[in-house]
């Protein structure tokens, strides 16, 4: 009988310690999970990338010394892309010749399936000679867009186009040292692009 009581006591002690340990562990998790906290996307930092141009590989750092306007789009884009490129072109036309030598726009096609380098070059010629067109593999394009917090995706549509591309419509401004300094939201006028360019040129001149 005494042995049985001893054993029961020993087992009860064992269970209590085990239970206390589990409660301690779970309370640790519970404390963490009950916090009303969320994680938001980290701020992208910009940076160099390499894509294909008509004349071969092109890296952003090849434009060091210039103010660069980066825009992600595609040539079949019906309204948003031509409007933005047109406004950038108008802003470039409003610059004097010295200023124009110090700027560069990059139109990066996120639709490499349809936008060949020849097609891209022809497309950009409608806007301005200082607009360089680039594209690349989906992997390289994902890398370039992620550096600037941009995004794109292919979306099937029930029309003759078969698919369209969703994409970020902002223009990213990079200074002469390759540092991302400003983001221009869609809808900016040519005057606003010119002002943003002047701001960067003025800061560094």
């Amino acid at each position: 009988m005494k042995r049985l009581i001893d054993r029961l006591y020993r087992d009860a002690l064992c269970y209590r310690i085990l239970l206390a340990t589990i409660v301690f562990f779970l309370s640790g998790i519970g404390y963490i999970e009950c916090q009303n906290e969320i994680e938001i996307a980290p701020t992208p930092l910009g940076g160099d990338f390499t894509l294909q141009s008509k004349s071969g590989k092109y890296s952003l750092n090849q434009s060091n010394g210039k103010v660069v306007l980066i825009y992600f789009g595609f040539t079949s884009c019906p309204v948003v892309c031509p409007t933005t490129l047109s406004n950038i072109a108008q802003a470039f036309k409003a610059l004097n010749s010295d200023e124009l030598k110090q700027v560069q726009a990059l139109f990066i096609s996120i639709d490499p399936e349809r936008d060949t380098l020849d097609k891209l070059q022809k497309y950009s010629s409608y806007f301005h000679s200082q607009i360089l067109t680039l594209t690349g593999s989906i992997k390289d394009l994902k890398n370039a867009t992620s550096l600037y917090g941009a995004s794109f995706r292919k979306v099937k549509v029930p029309s003759g186009m078969e698919y369209t591309m969703d994409h970020t419509t902002s223009v990213f401004i990079v200074d002469q040292k390759g540092k991302w300094v400003d983001t221009i939201s869609h809808g900016a006028t040519s005057a606003e692009f010119k002002k943003a360019i002047h701001k960067v040129l003025g800061d560094k001149n």
Binding site: R10, C14, I17, L18, T21, I22, F24, F25, G28, I29, Y31, I32, Q35, N36, E37, I38, E39, I40, A41, P42, T43, P44, V80, T145, Y148, G149, A150, S151, R153, V155, V157, T164, D166, H167, T168, T169, S170, S185, H186, G187, A188
Partner: protein, 162 residues
């Protein structure tokens, strides 16, 4: 002797178990909390209002006394359109930082607030469109408390293409 050694072994086993679980908990908590302490962590404040930014200026009052009013113009809010957000704060030592707009795979969009006058802040932005006619955006007002804790006040808006 046998009984003593079995008790002793049980005791050692429980102590080891306790140490293992305790250190495991400590490690898990410290790892998790160290991630939470990064600049990307936001403590959400509850927004129980049914206010719709598409229709109205939204005013909130918090139990700690702070009052905010927030509106986006022009209304209705359409995609691919220049918009202005206006935030007014009263009875607060919060410092507005930015608005985080997020929706699935829509990229980074976090315009910074500019101080216009005392307790009034503005941010310019545009919301992207996509192949869908309408996108639900989480609109998170980001602020810093006096203790430099980052807090967020969430709103949700449905935005269509014009």
């Amino acid at each position: 002797v046998t009984r003593f050694s079995s008790y002793f072994l049980l005791f050692v086993f429980l102590i080891v178990l306790l140490i293992l679980l305790g250190s495991g908990t400590y490690f898990y908590r410290s790892q998790f909390l160290s991630k939470k302490n990064t600049v990307n962590t936001v403590t959400l404040l509850e927004n129980n209002s049914n206010c719709n930014l598409q229709n109205d200026l939204c005013s909130l009052e918090f139990s700690t006394g702070e009052k905010i009013s927030f509106e986006i113009s022009p209304r209705p809010i359409y995609a691919n359109q220049k918009q202005k957000a206006i935030l007014k704060i009263q009875h607060s030592d919060w410092t507005p930082e930015s608005i985080d707009f997020s929706s699935e795979d829509m990229g980074y969009n976090r315009p910074a607030f500019k101080k216009i006058k005392e307790n009034v802040y503005e941010a310019d932005f545009s919301l992207d469109s996509c192949a869908f006619d309408e996108i639900k955006w989480r609109t998170l007002i980001l602020l810093h408390t006096k203790e430099n804790k980052r807090i967020g006040i969430p709103f949700y808006i449905f935005v269509r293409k014009e």
